[in-house]
């Protein structure tokens, strides 16, 4: 997995598969962690990144595989994340804040991903640019 570490952050590029997502998360969060975050912040960040990256694996690259580019940048204790893929666009409204009914569906086996992402991030933006999905957000400490 090619990657580079700078003082201000980490850039990783990896295949959009569940195994590659797991390897990227373990590289970022298992000791020795590439991201010096407090334990609670790291746990939140790992969960949010898992949801974002697995959404890309499951929904953006539905037929053909592809790559995911992940950039994590620490700025004054804040974790800024940028994720880029070349898969299908996000469905309209997918990244919008969840309504009160988001978790009202009873005992579901899915549908928690965007709820968790929206609950644990701020300033989330999504753009479709030149055939690429660009998602940026901050992970709440």
């Amino acid at each position: 997995m090619p990657g580079e570490t700078a003082n201000e952050g980490v850039c990783l590029r990896f295949a959009a598969t569940p195994a590659s997502v797991r390897a990227a998360l373990m590289r970022l969060f298992d000791p020795p962690s590439a991201l010096p975050l407090a334990a609670d912040h790291a746990a939140t960040a790992q969960l949010v990144l898992a949801e974002v990256l697995n959404n890309i694996v499951e929904h953006a690259y539905t037929c053909d595989g592809g790559d995911i580019a992940l950039t994590c940048r620490l700025t004054g204790g804040d974790l800024a994340v940028r994720v880029v893929d070349r898969g299908c666009p996000l469905p309209k409204g997918a990244a919008e804040p969840p309504g009160p009914a988001a978790l009202a569906g009873g005992l579901s086996e899915g549908g928690y991903g965007w709820f968790l992402i929206r609950s644990l991030t701020r300033d989330l933006t999504y753009h479709r640019r030149a055939g690429r999905n660009v998602l940026t957000f901050y992970v709440n400490p």
């Binding site: 569940p18 195994a19 997502v21 797991r22 998360l25 746990a43 790992q46 969960l47 898992a50 949801e51 697995n54 694996v57 499951e58 978790l103 005992l107 579901s108 086996e109 899915g110 928690y112 991903g113 709820f115 968790l116 609950s119 644990l120």
Partner: protein, 112 residues
Amino acid sequence: MQLYPRPIPDGLIVRVAEPRIDAASAIAFKDAMQAVTQDQPGRRVVLDLAEVGFIDSSGLGAVVAVYKLLQPDRVLELARLAPSVERVFRLTRMDRVFALHGDLPEDMRDAG
């Protein structure tokens, strides 16, 4: 997927000897849980999660799927969750569905 079941008087404890229940292992977890709980008598199935340090929404969905598989005659309970794992259950309100135990049932009996 390493699962170690052992019987208790009213059911089964299943120790999950894995560091993660995530998108890469959710299906294997569900299938393995189905295999170890099949034909097991007893009402309770207690999942010992002490070794699990990370769960995502795919893993959560697999736990819900196992809960549904065991219904209506058996109940799935969760024990010894790491703080980061317990938080995922609380954030998604799943702590209203599952009994979350700090200790295993036999430990609670010893203490009582």
